[in-house]
Subunit: 484 residues, 2 copies
Amino acid sequence: MSAVSIHHPLEGLFHPRSIAIIGASKSDRDTGWVGRLLSSGYKGKIYPVNPNAKEIDGLKAYPNIRDIPGVVEYAILNIPAHLTPQAILDCAAKGVKFVHCFTAGFSETGTKKASRLEARIAQIARDRGIRLLGPNCMGIYCPASRMTFNADFPQKRGPVAFVSQSGTEAMRLLFLAHDINIYFSKVISYGNAIDLDAPDFLEYLADDEDTKIIACYIEGSRQVARLTSAVKKCLQKKPVVVLKGGSTRSGAGAVAFHTASPTGSKASWDNFFKKTGAISANTMDEVADIIQTLSRIKPPKGRRVALVGRGGGIGVIAADICERASLEVPSFSNNTRKRLSQIISEVGISTQNPVETMTGMSGAVDFYLRGLSIVDEDTETDIILVQIAIDIYGGRNTDLTPEVRDAAYALCATADSLKKPLAVVLFTGGHPKATKEALITRRILTKAGIPVYSGVESASQAISKVIDYYGNDSGKTKTRFNYL
Amino acid sequence: MSAVSIHHPLEGLFHPRSIAIIGASKSDRDTGWVGRLLSSGYKGKIYPVNPNAKEIDGLKAYPNIRDIPGVVEYAILNIPAHLTPQAILDCAAKGVKFVHCFTAGFSETGTKKASRLEARIAQIARDRGIRLLGPNCMGIYCPASRMTFNADFPQKRGPVAFVSQSGTEAMRLLFLAHDINIYFSKVISYGNAIDLDAPDFLEYLADDEDTKIIACYIEGSRQVARLTSAVKKCLQKKPVVVLKGGSTRSGAGAVAFHTASPTGSKASWDNFFKKTGAISANTMDEVADIIQTLSRIKPPKGRRVALVGRGGGIGVIAADICERASLEVPSFSNNTRKRLSQIISEVGISTQNPVETMTGMSGAVDFYLRGLSIVDEDTETDIILVQIAIDIYGGRNTDLTPEVRDAAYALCATADSLKKPLAVVLFTGGHPKATKEALITRRILTKAGIPVYSGVESASQAISKVIDYYGNDSGKTKTRFNYL
């Protein structure tokens, strides 16, 4: 718990000292809420509520939340929708501050009856001073307090917060990020947002010292003006990446049956991005790539890319892709070429930008150890992008492991001494052996703080967007985000 | 060898009865040309030429090609550039028809001297009636004759030809395709193209009955008008996908040091695509995705996509992506919704388009077996796109294998009976266990003829481009490509 946010009214959402699960299933160690909290090591008290059970997962169960002897700060509703109004009244009687309504079956069903029920629980919560999370959402993941909505989520803490209107997208980003060694401070899946909404979380996260980067998946909000202010407030201190779901007609149609949020017009959201300067993403993979770019790439001095990788065609295609992403791939200085030609002895491979490494993984290792520092000193380029194609360099039938590890460690050994930002694109082609090596290589490189992308397109787009973000910072006040 | 092309003058390029390797290294079983041809099982005679060796890899070596007793139909030059003019003269004296100049160090080096040398070997070949492949290229892969430039290439034949100015890109596409069960008739890496150029290969492939789909990686050509005619001729019979390298300033700069081809203006290439109707691709992954779309997707009746997959957010984001790729995700008919609601019992998940499967991999299996046929009969959609997220449905810590296999086989079992085209997007997140399962699932599905993509973006773009291609066919003469 950070000093600044300790008294924030939403602090109890992430650090409740006790949680009641209303509608705990009798044996839910593997799949239910009690089991999740137990297996993640939640630090507070857990009170299962179920009128038909005496004990659940070794914990005493209560027929009603009102019967619990101790203080209950947080309740999760896991009961049929029509029972939620009474449950919230019971929570209010017990003095619960936060109710997470996991239950679905409200306005997203499209029926008037369900919408009326949703309005009624919103009204009850408002009247009784309860802050309601949801309905129709997965709730909170906070490794510091060990709250979680999935037993597979890592217990390791990190600097990224994710505010997501979709629980599945929260899972996707968590898993994508885990695989590139990126971890989270807080993740909030908030569903239909009938009370607590994106602006609430963002206002909190702006001052949360545990959070250095904020990502959002937003389908819509009833409070766009407040959302805009909250994002602006965050951006004064930390970068904000937003994936706006439902920004086409097809997408808006899908939102109606998901969270039933008001998706807004394309113009209004274009305006939101223009006014706030938030970084816009189109896919969850892109969100993950932008997070690792923000975390691991020093702000480049410009948009000129030095491309390193074996294969003339690979260099040509990468150069085209970079330029389409508003980057450039200019020629190296004469001095750089002269110095590179002293270490590259193979005929027919380029010492110009894009520069080629020599044959095989061993040629790549050699270049990482002797060539990268030359490229780093080139006056005509600002960023180094290394392409590694394990199945092309290493073949498919031999044991790739030693050579591929050598290459990964050679890159790590050199990376620290480089002045320019370094990014790596790792191709596999998908062959099981090459894929396995690629996963291990990615783990080694990302652990060393080197960003790894699955293609030049995703790398160049993420880098270009992050340069735009830094470029907006005319006052040069933005921190360098290099703490992962 | 097909009946139509047997007398084509280029037939000997793919089916020579004997090959001399001028500059065979003394022991090159693993890395050299003799070793490659031996290990791939090349069916003709192999003659190593090396003045300093008596025997190479168990084959008698000759000091000069003129010393070989038998007929030599094809020669590979693996010697320093300055020795190539005399070698080509020797080949001419021996009556060789095709010379593949693997040797690099010509115009792509940027020196006048090397460009003069290149002009000189072009002149010698022309004067002596030799067809020259290259220089600076990997040459021919033809599984029917077992010619290859990489011992790891599969011996299995398939219906795709690839005409590539880059050897590395040829390797990339071969490996990418192999992993989705797509195989080749002929692959040509042709480098600087000082004699044989893309139009030569395309004129041949238009009539080649072993080739049903043609892909090209072209950096430039000195014969754009002839290239345009050749592509048009091909397109009367089979689809042509073209990745034009060097179509930006950065890319053109890279081409100068790769094959030194005249890259042409953006306008001229836009015109090429407009005039020919060739399918344009920007990355090699996209080329592979377009090939599998052409091979495995029945021409859809329209652009309306039915999305299937667990997770509301996943559906929303996918719908946005589809619409950005000029597809639509409309509502299902009332009848479809009614029928789907009879098989979907879970609260809070959508029976509308995008439709959700129920919990876990078992929920997915259930939907594949009972829900897909309902979606297939929906009157408002034309294509079915199924999203599978193994680590989200299946978690990360249990043994995923049985459930994931069940899902793959359930999809295969249903696929055959569907009237609408079916496409699958397979996410992994990259976790080793989920990745392994995803690779196996991809193999099962692609073997059954179901196209598998790594994301909704790549799937929707490939499908949209293929619909455009079929749409150009106002006369409905284009074959249905469904033979993989």
